[in-house]
Each structure stands twice: as C-alpha cells, then as structure tokens.
C-alpha cells in the first residue's frame, strides 16, 4: 500500500512536469477532435499522431499517446449523440439513447452526462488499475476459450432482452448478424466463405461500415419525410450544458455500476469495449423502473455505458502494462510506437522504468480532469448545431458518413457496403426488427465461433467443457436467466 502511494507520488512528479502537462492538454484536445469525426476512432487517432512523438522521451511520448486515446474516447460519443454516427464500436451504445435525447432538445444534458459519466468511469478505472492490477491480471489468466464463449453468449442473450417487442425478431436479427459475420476467410481452415468472388470481402465485413449505414444514413432516410421541420427544441434550454437534477438522480447509480463492470471486462483478453457497453446497457435496462423509456432518451442508458467504456479502456491497459501484450487495437498501436522509442512494456516495465509506468497512470488521472474541462465548454458550440435546419443538416450527415467510411479502410468497396446497409437498416426499422442484436452478433460472431472451436479443440471434442468450468457455467446460467426474463416480459407485454 505504502509502496503504491510512493510510486504514485513518483508518477505525479513525472506527469506534472510542465512539458508533460502541456502534451497532456494538446493530446487530449487533438484526441477529442479526432474522436468526434465519424470513422476516426482512438486507434487511428493514435496512429496518425505517432510522428508527433518522434524525439520525445518515452514517458512524454506515452503520456501524449494515452491522452490522445482518452480524448478520442471522450470525443467518440459526441458524434453518436449529435448525428447518430458512432466513431468506434464502443460508441454504438451511446447512440441508443444519446441521439433521441438530442432530438428532444436535451443535447446539452446528454453531452454533459456523457462527459461526466466518462470522467467518473475513467477515475474508477484508474483507481482499480492502481490498486488491483496484479491480482486482476492473475485472475484474467484463468479466462480460457470456454469462459470467453459463455461470456459472449451472455452478452448476446442480454442484448436480445433489449429488443422492443418480439423476442423472435430479436433472434432473427441476431441470426442475421451471425450470417454476416461468417463472410471472409476462416482462420482455422483457411476456407473462403460467402465472398462471392469479391476480393474486398476476404477480410470480412467491417462492422463499423455497417454501423454507419444502419445508424447515420438510415436515420437520414427516416428524417426525409420531415425535411422542413426543425428539431422540436426549446431555444432557451438548448444552450445549457449541464445535467438536470432529475438526470443526476437517475444516472449516478448506473455510472457507479458501469465503472467496475467496464474495468473487469477490459482486463479480459480480447473482450473489450463493445461487450462492456452493451452489457452495461442491458443491466441498466433491467434495473430501471422505466425500461420502456430505453431507446427513447433514457439518461441511464447513456450514463452507464459511457462510464463502462472509459473504465474498460483502463482495464485494457492491464495486459499491456503487466504482460506487454495489447488488450485493444489502440494499445497495439501504442506498443508499436513505444518499441520504436526503445521501450518495451511488459512484466518488468514497473521495475525497470517505474517513472514511465507510473507517470502514465498519474497522467491519465490528471488527463481525466483536463478532458472534463475541455469537453464541457466544447459542448456549448456543438449543441448550437441542432438549430441548423434539416435541409442543411441531413446532407452534411451523409457527407460525413461517407467520408468516415472511407477513413476506416481506404477501401472503395466500403461505399457499396455502406449504401446497401443504409437501405437494409431503413427496412429493418420499418419492419421493427431490432438492430442492436444484429450489430453485436456481427461484431462478436467471429470471436464467438473461434472461442467455441478452441474450447472443443482443448477438450478434445467434448462439449462438457462449457459446464464443467465454473466461470463458464456461471455465464451460461446468467444467459439462461436473461432469456427467461426476456420471454416473461414479452408475454406480459402481449397479454396486456
């Protein structure tokens, strides 16, 4: 304990050096701006800014990259809330309720909630990172393919419970998502599946392209009928960027629940922000006394996942700092940049370069505060956007969406995919087939399949491995409970 506090003191000494503090602010600001652009997530943001770090000392470089990473996470939800266009997978959930809130004229409140929830989640995550890194890293090792498969199954069934109305339609959407996920080269057998000879499909479908089509462009189609309407907003309240008392009362518990949940999921190898945010959303919906408001602007549905997302990014640093292996795409980019500087994170980083390891941790604590201070004032001009007439706003969204699509992979074929999925997304919403289960199945499909096969390989073909491993069994039970809950709720709804 004393040692930890001593090290943290050492870390703050590094983090609060003027040059590091300066880069913290610059990195956070650049990251926020990058994160706001659709299609540019934290990983690309860090990669683009790597040349900035040439010639810096390793601690400053890592602090700069971490603040860009963090800034992009803060900024990512801006685009979700304002124009229904997620910047990366973990910002998808922020669309569910953030965008409806903005449409109701509560954009200021949504932006403030998201910034504050991110801040608290980040702080909770950092505190966990400081005190529990070693034991948690040990625990995460117990997590094998069977556990991973069962966790993903749970996340998927929990998402079915999110679906409005028919459970059958939820399953339908999930099945469709799995089908899309099988497109591409199968890593295990090398077989090329369902690409119809199109080379661009060999790597599979990038879910972010589908996302942009389903959410941003499909939303434009939906609004097409109301071209000359303005958002139904109160001109006075629009400028206020702060949470109302009611918002606060409804969100503080989700925010506090989201933090630890996000952190632990972040630590697990290969799980990541998507599962954390979707699970947090499902949990908040089942705890809520007003579940019917979810998807229509429930502040809890924004607050919980935002907190989980930032805590998750702290969790993802645990494998990077303790094992030297990146827990996320962004962490991988950071690892590459550090190696170019001659520092290799790993189990002995804390002993060999405590000033780097702890400097980064301390600077992330400081960075959270800096980012909150950057993001709240930044929201003021953003909410003014809502005063823009639809005739101007909608074409801009389409332009941004196509630009973001190209930034993702620089692939021309993605324009076809985004257009097709925009039409598909519009049709699904007309048929009231829920989109979240489809999206989650598309993201997790490949991983779920591989975890299933790996479990069976390790068990020499016996499916008993899923129930004999206690952690796996626990997740399966949770999955069953969430399914029963969904069916019951559905029956109640149809009886009324």
């Amino acid at each position: 304990m004393d040692a930890i506090l001593h090290n943290l003191g050492l870390g703050f000494e590094v983090a609060l050096q003027p040059v590091n503090l300066m880069w913290l602010v610059i990195g956070g600001l650049l990251g926020t701006i990058i994160g706001m652009l659709p299609g540019l997530g934290p990983a690309t943001g860090v990669a683009v800014l790597i040349p900035l770090t040439y010639g810096m000392n390793p601690a400053t470089a890592l602090i700069t990259m971490a603040s860009v990473y963090y800034g992009a996470m803060f900024g990512g939800s801006r685009a979700s809330i304002m124009i229904n266009t997620p910047g990366d997978a973990s910002a998808i959930v922020s669309c569910f309720d953030g965008y409806p809130m903005a449409k109701q004229g509560r954009a200021g409140s949504a932006l403030a909630t998201s910034a504050i929830a991110s801040f608290v989640g980040g702080i909770v995550g950092m505190v966990f990172l400081i005190f529990f890194t070693a034991p948690v890293a040990e625990m995460a090792l117990k997590f094998g393919p069977a556990e991973k498969f069962s966790l993903m199954l749970f996340a998927l069934t929990a998402t079915i419970t999110l679906s409005e109305g028919s459970v059958v339609k939820g399953f339908l959407a999930m099945g469709f998502g799995f089908m899309l996920a099988t497109i591409g080269i199968d890593g295990q057998s090398g077989a090329i599946r369902f690409t119809m000879g199109i080379e661009a499909l060999q790597d599979g479908i990038d879910f972010l392209v589908i996302m942009i089509g389903f959410y941003a462009i499909a939303e434009v189609f939906k609004n097409f009928s109301s071209l000359d309407l303005r958002y139904d907003v109160d001109a006075k309240s629009i400028g206020r960027v702060w949470m109302t008392g009611e918002d606060f009362k409804r969100s503080w518990k989700p925010i506090l629940r989201g933090g630890p949940l996000g952190f632990f999921i972040g630590v697990l190898p290969g799980a990541g922000g998507t599962i954390a945010t979707f699970l947090s959303y499902a949990i908040e919906k089942s705890f809520s006394r007003k579940p019917e408001e979810f998807g229509k602007g429930a502040v809890e549905g924004l607050a919980g996942p935002e907190s989980a997302n930032n805590a998750c990014s702290c969790g993802a640093l645990v494998p990077l700092l303790t094992l030297g292996i990146p827990g996320s795409g962004t962490a991988a980019v950071m690892l590459g940049a550090l190696m170019m500087l001659g520092v290799r994170p790993g189990p002995i980083l804390f002993e060999q370069h405590p000033e780097i390891a702890w400097g980064v941790i301390a600077s992330m604590l400081a960075g959270n505060i800096v980012l909150l201070l950057i993001n709240l004032p930044l929201a003021v001009p953003l909410v003014q956007l809502l005063k823009t007439p639809q005739r101007i706003m909608l074409p801009m969204i389409v332009g941004l969406a196509y630009m973001g699509t190209y930034f993702l992979n620089y692939a021309n074929f993605d324009f076809v995919l985004v257009s097709v999925s925009a039409l598909g997304g519009y049709m699904l919403s007309r048929l009231s087939i829920p989109i979240p289960p489809l999206v989650l199945a598309l993201i997790l499909g490949g991983m779920t399949e591989q975890a299933f096969r790996n479990s069976l390989t390790i068990a020499n073909g016996s499916p008993m491995i899923f129930v004999t491993q206690p952690i796996s069994l626990a997740f399966l039970v949770l999955a069953a409970i969430s399914l029963i809950y969904a069916l019951k709720r559905h029956r109640k709804l149809t009886q009324v």
Binding site: I50, G187, E199, Q202, L323, I325, M340, G342, A411, I458
Partner: protein
C-alpha cells in the same frame, strides 16, 4: 615500364575515371517523383513498422532525393495493397512491404499473387521463431517436448495465430516431423489476436505450448514466466544465450521470419540497381541499426538477385510442408 608508357597508362586511367561517372549518369535511374511505400495493412503491424522505419532512415540519412510517403492499404491479407502495387508496372517509385505471407497466401489458395507477380527488391530484417512453454512445464528442450507430443498428441494443445499456414505454424509442423512425430495429429488452437491471446492462454494453462516469434515472448522469458525450447536462428541469440538453436538440437532447420520489399512488376535493370545501391547503403547507417535494435529485429539483408532466389527456395519448402497436412493443394 618506361616513363612514356606509364604516363600514357596514367592518362588512359584518368580518362576512364573521368568518363565513368558521366557514363553512369547517362544510364542511372533516379526516382522522378515522390516515393510511395505501401504497407498492405493497418497502422501498428509489422509491415507498417517496416515501411515507417525505412521512410525514417532514408529521409534522415538523406539517401533519397525525393520525399517518401507511407500509405496503409489494408485488406485481403495484404492482397489489396499488393494489387495496387501490381498496377504500377515499370514504375520504380512504388515499393511495398512484404513477408512470407506473400508465398503462403498463394499456397493456401487465398490469393493469385506470388513473388513472380512483382519485382523482388530486398529482404531487410528478420525475427526468429521459437517454441515456448510455461517456466514450470516439465519439458526442458525440443527433444523431450516433441517426444511427449509424439506419445500423446491429444494431451498437448499448441497455440498459433492469427491463422494456420503462417510461419509460426510451418515451424511447428517442420519440427514435429523432424523429431519423428505426425504433423497431422497435432492439435492447434488458433488465436486470431495472436500474442495478445496466445500468451495469456499459455500462462493460464489452457494450452501447453505456443509457436511464435521470439520478440513476442522476450519480456515473459526475462520475467521468468516462460521457457523457450529452441530458436530457429543459425546461432544463439544475444538476448537468450541459454536457449539452443534447433540446429544444435540436431534438426537441420534455420527459419527466418523475414520482411522485405517488393516493387511493381517489370522494373528495368537500372531501377533495380538504384534500389540495390540505396538499400545496401541504408542497412549500414546508424539510424537503421539503432531502429533495428529498438524493435528487436535482426538485419537480414538480401539484394534483389539473392532475394529472388531465396523466395523460390522458400516457396518450395513451405509448399511441401503445407501439402503434408492438407492445407496446400
């Protein structure tokens, strides 16, 4: 030799010396516009790091007269970027990072492209392959491990990533066969996220060994958590002086996990000569040496001619190994 003839000889020599740069000037090729190095993958991977390290070295050491752009063109396991290069026939300003995957993707039937679709330019660096087990595992060397594998293949699960048919996989198949086991009986567990999943899976005891490049394991080895059974380099590596090579263990198997450069098809001899000259200089510079040291890469330089011969030989080797297990047709 009398004075006159000596003077004459001197004059002839002087003329020759004076003439040669002129002649070379007329014949030599130089890039006529910005140089583009294609990393056929996203930022952060091995190809991207190589492209950016070359860009940094050539620029900082002022070895080229034109600016260098690195462009990331991910997709199709490299195919997207390489196809883009293929369309630049005869243009010497376009290069792409490459690795054994160029050979393997073709053998596995994933891609039509082979090294013959391009102008091989150079191999530049390599990493070496290892087989790692947990530090508390009973096996101390290749022999004891592969004998245990031969006796009970169903009790040994081997982590490989991101997909079968790559260098890591080929190393393990070759070793299994060389130690007398059956490559087809080996139970491979595939981890698409590579080391990020393989190392925790090994440390957590879910699998018994991983086949992987040395650099990915080094920190764990130094921390005393993993043991390396052997390395595919020709001599022992400095960072791991206690780990014997496969060769020392009686297996004639030296296997680099190299990366290099290819250029568009149909480059002229002058264009090839330009890159041979420039890259041969580059690999001797302090900037390059320092970068390699930081990235824990080893110099593995082959000029365009040597590299073409090497690619042919590697294709042969990999083809027969992958056919053994039914992955290649």
């Amino acid at each position: 030799m009398n004075r006159i003839s000596r003077a004459l000889g001197g004059a002839v020599l002087a003329t020759a010396v004076a003439a040669s740069p002129l002649a070379a000037f007329a014949k030599d090729w130089e890039p006529q516009r910005p140089i583009e190095i294609i990393a056929p993958a996203g930022p952060g991977g091995g190809w991207d790091l190589l492209a950016r390290t070359i860009q940094k070295t050539l620029t900082e050491e002022k070895l080229v007269s034109r600016p260098i752009i690195v462009s990331n063109k991910p997709g199709g396991g490299g195919a997207t970027g390489w196809n883009y290069l293929k369309g630049k026939e005869g243009q010497g300003e376009f290069l792409a990072a490459t690795s054994p995957l160029l050979i393997q993707n073709n053998l596995l039937g994933k891609s039509e492209l082979t090294y013959k679709s391009f102008t091989p330019i150079a191999a530049l660096m390599t990493e070496w392959e290892v087989v790692a087990v947990r530090a508390d595992a009973p096996w101390k060397d290749g022999k004891s491990f592969f004998e245990a594998l031969k006796a009970k293949p169903e009790s040994m699960h081997i982590g490989v990533g991101p997909a079968l048919g790559n260098d890591d996989h080929i190393q393990f198949l070759t070793l299994t066969k060389a130690f007398g086991g059956d490559p087809k009986a080996v139970k491979f567990v595939v981890y698409p996220a590579t080391a990020a999943e393989q190392i925790p899976a090994l440390l957590g005891g879910h699998i018994q060994a991983i086949t992987i490049s040395l650099g990915e394991t080094l920190e764990q080895v130094k921390a005393g958590k993993l043991r390396l059974l052997g390395v595919s380099s020709p001599q022992r590596e400095n960072e791991i002086p206690d780990v014997p090579t496969w060769k020392e263990q009686g297996i004639d198997f030296v296997f680099p996990h190299w990366r290099g450069l290819i250029a568009a098809p149909g480059l002229s001899a002058e264009q090839k000569a330009y890159w041979d000259k420039t890259l041969a200089k580059m690999v001797e510079t302090p900037t390059w040496k320092k970068a390699l040291e930081n990235l824990q890469w080893e110099l593995f330089y082959q000029n365009s001619e040597q590299h073409a011969a090497f690619l042919a030989e590697q294709t042969e080797l990999m083809s027969s190994t992958l056919k053994d297990v039914g992955l290649a047709k």
